[in-house]
Subunit: 224 residues, 2 copies
């Protein structure tokens, strides 16, 4: 727990950025407005030039923080997973019963981010939407293996592991903890996306949440 708290303001792999955006006002403005802008125009149309104009700063200044927009996306999504991991650990830590603990974990991982805690420049509600729409693009690249070696995905991987461990705690006979964990985490994003854009491909809607569905899915797989 302690190490996690000091990790908050989420500790991002230092190779992802050139200069830590948390270390200056400009850096924070870059993060704040990149979230707004990516959400608004989509990652494809988002450019450092446009962002520079929006925050009344210069393109070249943004390049001093991030090599390119792909790295910025890695930064934002890492932050998001780190933030979610914090929620997860914080909320489940005190729960002794493995089943209850797992339930809580699934809830946190699959729910829609609703409240903007907004104690920072980071809007978690929008960031959640960005993760739903753009996260895959950060790893579906020709450079995944290198970047994975550099540790760019380590927070995400740690989160998958944590959930996987909780699954094991409930049923140590179950053979597919890692796959089920990754299915839930990635699948939750997917169901949220479908709910918005392909309602015929999901049973999730106003009444049925992804949480309901995944709760059922997971506990059907684990021994009673």
């Amino acid at each position: 727990m302690k190490y996690l708290l000091q990790d908050l303001k989420v500790r991002i792999n230092e190779k992802i950025y050139i200069k830590d955006p948390e270390s200056s006002t400009l850096g924070k403005r870059i993060i704040e407005h990149s979230i707004l802008m990516i959400q608004e125009v989509g990652f494809e149309s988002f450019t450092f030039k446009k962002l520079g104009e929006k925050i009344g700063s210069n393109e070249s200044s943004i390049y001093r923080y991030f090599e390119n927009k792909h790295k910025l996306l890695l930064y934002l999504t890492s932050w998001y997973w780190g933030w979610l991991e914090y929620q997860l650990v914080f909320s489940t830590n005190s729960i002794a019963n493995p089943k209850q603990k797992l339930k809580k974990a699934i809830e946190i991982i699959t729910r829609t981010v609703k409240e903007d805690s907004s104690f920072t420049h980071i809007n978690e509600v929008l960031l959640n939407k960005i993760v739903i729409n753009e996260y895959s693009k950060s790893y579906l690249t020709k450079e995944v293996d290198e970047e994975n070696k550099e540790g760019y995905f380590s927070i995400y991987k740690r989160l998958v592991m944590r959930l996987s461990d909780m699954l094991k705690e409930v049923d140590n006979q179950y053979q597919y903890c890692s796959s089920l964990s990754s299915t839930v985490i990635e699948g939750a994003l997917h169901q949220h996306f479908l709910k918005e854009h392909f309602p015929s491909l999901t049973d999730c809607n106003k009444n049925v949440t992804p949480t309901t569905y995944f709760m059922n899915l997971v506990f059907s797989s684990l021994k009673k």
Copy 2:
């Protein structure tokens, strides 16, 4: 069945292309080599100019077939899903027992494409890899809703429906047929990806296939 067979050479939504690539030698060369090239360099680095050079043709000629590379990706992935749908319907059609039918369906949807039937210019093995690596990018865009309205994803949607119907056949009490179907189809791609690039996040490997995992997942969820 009959309508499906006449649909083969897969019937692609006509708005996806400007000129039907099946209608000419150049068109077929575009498809054939775009598959090789996207697989080789990744979708991001793939350009019509490079493709033109590779097939000894001109950039502008390729633009007469496809508006842009995004449309080409839609074409390729639609073809893939249509091809898979054909496999699915062909192999399950004669099976009367709903459980057996579903098993076969899951097997077809989650397996690795191994043999290149190669009776055409389309290499299905490589195309399967492209779908694993690039399919998400075709719908994770700001234009999804428009393009969905235009019917660009209808083959994929039909496939999800088919599996969903088969789930319902086995257990008509189960509440999440659509979500489970979309989870299996998207999740299968994801597990194949993880197997290659993030082995620690999956239990799938040489011995355990995604098929094994999803078979277990699905039949745990449905009533015995």
